[in-house]
Structures are given as C-alpha cells and as structure tokens.
Amino acid sequence: MVVIVLFMVLMAILAGWWLSRQGLADKPWLEVGVGVEAGGAKLPVSPTAKVGLGAFLVVAGSLFSLLVSAYSMRMDMADWRALPMPTVLWFSTGLLILASIALHMALIAARCDELGHLRSSILAAGVCSLAFLTTQLLAWRELAASGYFTAANPASAFFYLVTAIHGAHMLGGLVALCRTSVRAFALSATSPPRAVGKLALSVELCALYWHFLLLVWLILFGLLMRWTDDLIAICRGLLT
C-alpha cells in the first residue's frame, strides 16, 4: 500500500496548498460585505468543465495507484513468477506518445484558430489511439498464445487487469474525442467565436486526459517491465 499512501500524501499536499490560498485563517464573523473573497487575493477562474476533469483525474489517479499498490504488494510475495513481456508493448507505448503529441498539436492549432491543422491533428490522435488499443490486444493474444492465460498465474492476471482498465479509460476518452472531432468538422471559418472557444476547451480537455493516460501507461509499463522494482524496494525500505 506504499504507492497509494504516497499518492494520498501528494493529494494532501496539493489540497493543503490550495486550502492555504483560500483564507482558512480568516475570521468570517468579523467580516461583512462582498469584497473579501479569498482573503483579498483574486484567483484566476478556471472553466467548470476543466475543474470537473481535474477532479475526475484525481479519482482515476487513486484507482490506478491502488492497482499499482496491489500489484507491487503481490510482487513482493515469495512465489511471484514474472511474465516475459511482449515486445509489441514497445510499439503501443510509442503510439500512445504519438497520440498525446498529436492532441497537444491540436490544442496549439485550436489556440491559433487553424481549423485545418486542428482537424488533421485530432484525426491523427484518434488513429494513434485506436492503433494503441489494437496493439494492446495483440499483446494479450501473444501472451495467451504462449500459454500465460492461466488463472493460476497472478502475474498474468494482473497484466490483463491493469491493461484492461487502462484501455477502458482510453475507450471513454475516445467517446469524448469523437464528439470533439464531430464538432471540429462541423465548424467553418464563419462560426461564431463562442463555438470556436468551446471547441478549444474540448480539445484542451482531451489533450489533458491523453497526457494523463500516457503518464499512467508509462508508470504501468515501467512496473510491468520490472524497471521500478528497485524504486519500490527503496520506498518500502523507507517506510519499514
């Protein structure tokens, strides 16, 4: 449970930093009037949808931290047998990085009002993401073909579980990306600036979500490839 505790500590630090800027030491019983918001310092207002996505990413982060926690606890037991990782995972990692880059380019295009670039970047991101999911399926088949799809091997069960949950999150993101791309193709040069602004926000949220999925995948990939063993051992040493 080291990983999830570290995640919680990180969240607590973030929450503490945020709360410290909310005037928690104010004396509300002494202050009357409207102009006392946040101890006088006005914070920039983020779009509600972005705050919503941020909150969701925290929940998803907690979910993945728990999976990693469970995985590393199980790895620590004496009878752990590691899996040979399919090479195709390297390709999927590359594809996910490409998807993330494409969405970031889409975001830049949206901010510069370049509709053509925006559309091509979104399409590229969608294609890369679908290709990523396909290569994950190939990895599943490769493992199954070499006889690791057995119930009695916890390593393979964990492999299928974490990749499936990560893939499910990707599928959910693809629904949002589909809706965004439909809107991007419906727009024209004469569309009102409000619609363009809303599209730019959608693209920004998609990009944020894909970066998050990439970060999670890189951590999972490191864990599956057993590069993080030493790190986990050090963490455990610190705590015990």
Binding site: M8, M11, E37, S62, M73, A151, A152, A157, F158
Partner: protein, 586 residues
C-alpha cells in the same frame, strides 16, 4: 446564466462566469422522473435510500429474533442468518447512510446553501441517481435469485466469500459485487458534481470560510469518498474476476471439501487492505456530513453562533486526512507486524484530537445558548451523547492489546453501531425534521416527532449499551446461536431477549416516523419560508419549496457568515447571510 445581475462592486465569483445554461424540463417525465434538478434528484435519492433502509431494518429484526429467541423461528437457519447480517450491514452503510447523506442531503443542500441555481453538471447528476437506483435493484435481486443473497458478511472477506457452502455462493456474491461496482460508478458521477459545485458554483461573497459547516462536512466527505471508493472498486472487480474467470487475486491454494481448487497464489490479506482502505474512510464519509449538519442544527436551535468556526473547519479537514492512514486498525488480528500495529494504533488515537475539538465546540455552542428543544435539536443533542459514547469505546478498540481479546465479539458490534449507526442516523432524523419544511412547505408533526425521538434515543441505548457487556463476556459476533457455550452465562440469554424486545419497539417507532413523513406532506402545519429563523441561504429562497432555478431572477449575494444569531443591536435575533450591511451614518 444570462439573468445574473452585477449590482455591487467587487470581484466576480465563479458562478457569474459559468457557461452552463440552466436546463428547463419540458414534460412531466423530465420534471419528476428523469429530472436534472438537484432538488428532485435529492428527493429521489432519499426515498430510495429510506426504502432500502427499511428492508435493512426488517433484516435486523429477523436477526434479533434469532438471537433473542434461538430455535423459535425455524425459517431463520444459519444460512439465512448470515444473509441477513450481510445485507443489513451493506445496505445500512452504503445504500442508506452514504447515499442519503451525500446523494440526498448533498444534492438538496449544496446548491441551495451556496446560492447556486443547480449542480454544475445536471445531466451527470441525473445519471448518478439512476445508476444508484440500478445498483439498489441489482442488490435486491439477490433475494430472488437461486441461493439467495450472499452471506459472506458485509466485509466480503475472501476466500470464504466465493467458496462453495457460503450462502449465496451461486448468484448472491455476483450481484453484490456488480451492485457495488454500479454504486461506485454512480457515486463518482454525483461526487464530482458536489465537489465541483462547491468549487465553482458559489454565489458572490460566499467564500469558503463563509460556507455553513453542513457544506464543509459534505464537501470533505465527498472528496474522501471519491478517493476511497476506488479501493472498493478495485477489490470488487478483482473478486469478481476470481469468481467468474477463476483468477487468483485473493484466492490462495485451497483444499475445500477434500478437493483441491484451481486457485493458487492469491492473497486474502490484499483484499483486507483494499477493503479497509475504503472501509475506514467510509466511517468518516458517513460521520463528517453528520458533524457538519449537527453543527448547524445546534447553532440554529440554540440561537447562538457556532463556537470556534475556524477550528471546526480545520478539524473536519484534519479528520478527513487522518482517516486515510488508520485503515489497518481493522486488521490487528490478521497477523501484521507489531510495528505496524503500533503505527496504526497511534494514528487512530490521534484522530481523537480533532474529534474531541468538535465535541467541545458543540458543547460550548450550547453553553448559555437560548436552547429551543425542538425535535431537530433533540436529535442533535442525542447525537452528541451517542457519538461520545461510541467514540470512547473506540479508544478501547483502537489499542492493539485491548482489541485483540475484544476482536470479533459483540463489543465491536455495540461500538460501531453506537458510533456509525445510531449517531449518524440520529443526525439524519434531526436533519429531516429540520429541512422537511423547506422541502415540502409544511412542518412535520411535533408530538409524533418527540415520541419518535425518545423511543429511538432511549431504545438505542437499551439495545446497544447491554451489548457491550455481552461482548465483554466473550460472546462472539456473527454466531447464529450461542447457547451451549460454557463461558456464556444464562444471563446473556436473558439480556439478548431484552435487547430483541427493545429492538422490535424501536423499529416500530420508525414506522411512526414514516407515517409522519407521508401524512405531513398534505396535513402538516404550513411552515412559511423560514420557520426556524435560520441564517443560511436555503431559508431565504423566494418560494417554499424552492422553484426550479432556486432564486427567481437574481442570484443571492452573500454579505456575512452563516452564524449571525443573537447579534447585539440587530432588529431580529438573526441576520440572514444575504442581508446587506446597514449603511453607517456619515
């Protein structure tokens, strides 16, 4: 929202730059069934939660009948008894308390108390309720499937939860896990709404430190729930795979009924960690909204500002943070390293500090207050006493050396029923009596209310106080029958009979409450807009019950904190939060 006015100088709050248009229902179905209005969703949540809670109440009666009069009711065999225990616990903790505090009170009070028109994502909010409803239906389906609901205990510990010969092994455990997964998905949708609404939807002038403590409690609890429920989600998914696909996340190599099972290499302790990483915060997910609500009830009905508002906020946040590092105190007997036991006992006892701060502050709020013994106030006072009582036995159980002999005895049952059963339920009742006039425009019957309080409060003590002694005798929990054990004196059986009779009476008193709820919708005394003369925004709506959009044309502007009661020199003994300051003579 187009109809927001900017009438006073000052920075804009998030609510005024909101790009979400208020959704307007067009038909009866979208107004009352698939509604996106947080108030309707709140009522839907509350009705479903109370209905399923009634099922859990009946289950507790059946358990008590078996414990009080063993052998008299032949249909309560050991299997059924386990099923009743499991379903009673799970329903009460998750489908009643969590859903009612966050889905019910959260939905109703967050937009109203913060001066918002609705939640920020109303469509997702509607989905949240319907997924919760589906989760309840799936859960109830367990009663009608072959083999009945699961009898694994509400903690669903593997390996026994999915082994043959545990009741409900065919279908019960499956529908339980699926229902939990659905509940968590639905709750996450609602929870994101509650958090983001608090962050983004507050009216102008409503700083965080002007929010009523009710909102602070619900907000902190929701943040905790969003972080903690994924642990149950992961655990439930993994157990589902163990059961369905035959993986071995939690299942070690086992020989059952002389036969070697296919499972190999799983870790039951891993499930305990995941379960209690959710399970302990869950206690505070239920308690923090109760803390917040009770603070507001006491302040309003004692006509006095809350003592130590800042400290109350800090304590809520501190309890929320600490509750994530105590989970293994539920696992002292799982064979953990003694150093871990020491660590978790220490963190557990540290939580007593912020909790004690809250209790002192409630008592100091009452001190020399103008206490009105209304029904909500009675329930609030009942809560303080009960919570202190349950909390004190928590000090026993939080210590490893005391916990080990008391583990799995009726002492534990008595402790957690006091602290997270009876205490939050008392707050729920108090809150219903307090806000019912706003929801329906009519008061709940006072005489029935007082009868309900006294029978429930005294009855709860008559039930659970003796249970501590039964536990100290060493009577184990989860046993279908304890007669014939040499160390159990005959007086334990007499005590059990007594507890059962009281439990039946207390249960019947809840029927009077339900009757009051239904009867008063039409026949209650008209309440007016602000019957308790309270300061918070929900009592200042132009209509009662509040109309769609809550605030008429203009959103309220907040000028002061939520606890201006008995202000010296004021015309009335309270100043609503949206009352502008009187201009000072030049």
């Amino acid at each position: 929202m187009a109809d927001v006015t900017h009438d006073a100088a000052g920075p804009l709050s998030a609510a005024e730059v909101d790009d979400v248009e208020l959704y307007h229902p067009k038909s009866w179905i979208t107004k009352y069934v698939f509604s996106q209005d947080a108030k309707v969703i709140a009522i839907q949540y509350s009705i479903v939660a109370l209905a399923i809670g009634l099922v859990a109440l009946v289950l507790s009666w059946l358990m008590r009948l078996q414990l009080g009069f063993p052998g008299t009711f032949s249909f309560i065999d050991p299997d059924r008894y386990y099923q009743f225990i499991t379903m009673h616990g799970m329903i009460m903790v998750i489908y009643l308390l969590t859903a009612l505090f966050l889905g019910g009170f959260g939905n109703y009070l967050i937009p109203l108390m913060l001066g918002a028109r609705d939640m920020v994502f109303p469509y997702v909010n509607m989905l949240s309720f319907w997924i919760y409803f589906l989760a309840v239906l799936v859960l109830v389906a367990g009663f009608f499937l072959p083999g009945g609901p699961t009898g694994a205990g509400w903690t669903l510990y593997p390996p026994q939860a999915i082994l043959a010969n545990t009741p409900g092994q065919q279908w019960g455990i499956l529908v339980m896990l699926v229902s939990l997964i659905l509940f968590i998905i639905g709750f996450t949708m609602g929870g994101l709404n509650y958090v983001v609404t608090v962050l983004q939807g507050r009216a102008r002038g409503m700083t965080l430190m002007r929010m009523p403590l009710t909102i602070w409690g619900i907000f902190t609890a929701t943040v905790m729930a969003l972080l903690a429920f994924p642990a149950l989600f992961v655990g439930a998914v993994m157990m589902l795979l163990d059961k369905l696909v035959g993986t071995s996340f939690f299942m070690p190599a086992i020989i059952a009924m002389g036969e070697r099972l296919a499972h190999k290499g799983g870790s039951p302790i891993l499930f305990q960690h995941l379960f209690w990483f959710f399970g302990h915060p869950e206690v505070y997910i239920v308690a923090l909204p109760a803390f917040g609500i009770v603070s507001d009830l006491i302040s309003t009905h004692a006509r006095k500002n809350i003592f130590g508002y800042r400290m109350m906020v800090w304590a809520l946040v501190a309890i929320g943070a600490l509750s994530f590092v105590v989970w293994a105190h539920h696992m002292y007997v799982s064979g953990m390293h003694p150093a871990f036991g020491f660590f978790f006992a220490t963190t557990t006892l540290i939580i007593a500090i912020p909790t004690a701060i809250k209790v002192y502050n409630w008592v100091l709020t009452l001190w020399r207050g103008d206490i009105h013994l209304t029904v909500p106030m009675l329930f609030a006072l009942g809560f303080i006493v009960t919570f202190v009582n349950g909390g004190l036995t928590g000090l026993f159980l939080g210590n490893v050396v005391v916990d080990v002999p008391l583990s799995d005895t009726m002492f534990v049952v008595a402790h957690f029923h006091m602290v997270m059963g009876v205490a939050p339920i008392l707050v729920i009742f108090g809150a219903i009596y307090h806000w019912y006039p706003k929801v329906t425009g009519r008061m709940l019957g006072d005489v029935l209310g007082k009868l309900h309080f006294w029978v429930t409060f005294l009855g709860a003590y008559l039930i659970f106080f003796p249970m501590h002694y039964i536990g100290l005798m060493g009577v184990p929990r989860r046993y279908h029958e304890i007669s014939g054990m040499a160390f159990v004196p005959p007086s334990a059986a007499t005590l059990n009979e007594f507890i059962t009779i009281v439990a039946l009476i207390v249960g019947a008193a809840q029927l009077a409450f339900l009757f009051n709820l239904v009867w008063s919708v039409r026949h209650g005394r008209p309440a007016g807009g602000n019957p308790w003369r309270a300061t918070t925004l929900e009592w200042q709506t132009p209509q009662t019950p509040p109309a769609h959009g809550n605030w008429g044309k203009d959103l309220p502007v907040v000028y002061r904190w939520a606890y201006d009661y008995s202000v010296p020199g004021a015309a009335e003994d309270f100043l609503p939060q949206n009352q502008p300051p009187t201009p000072q003579p030049a």
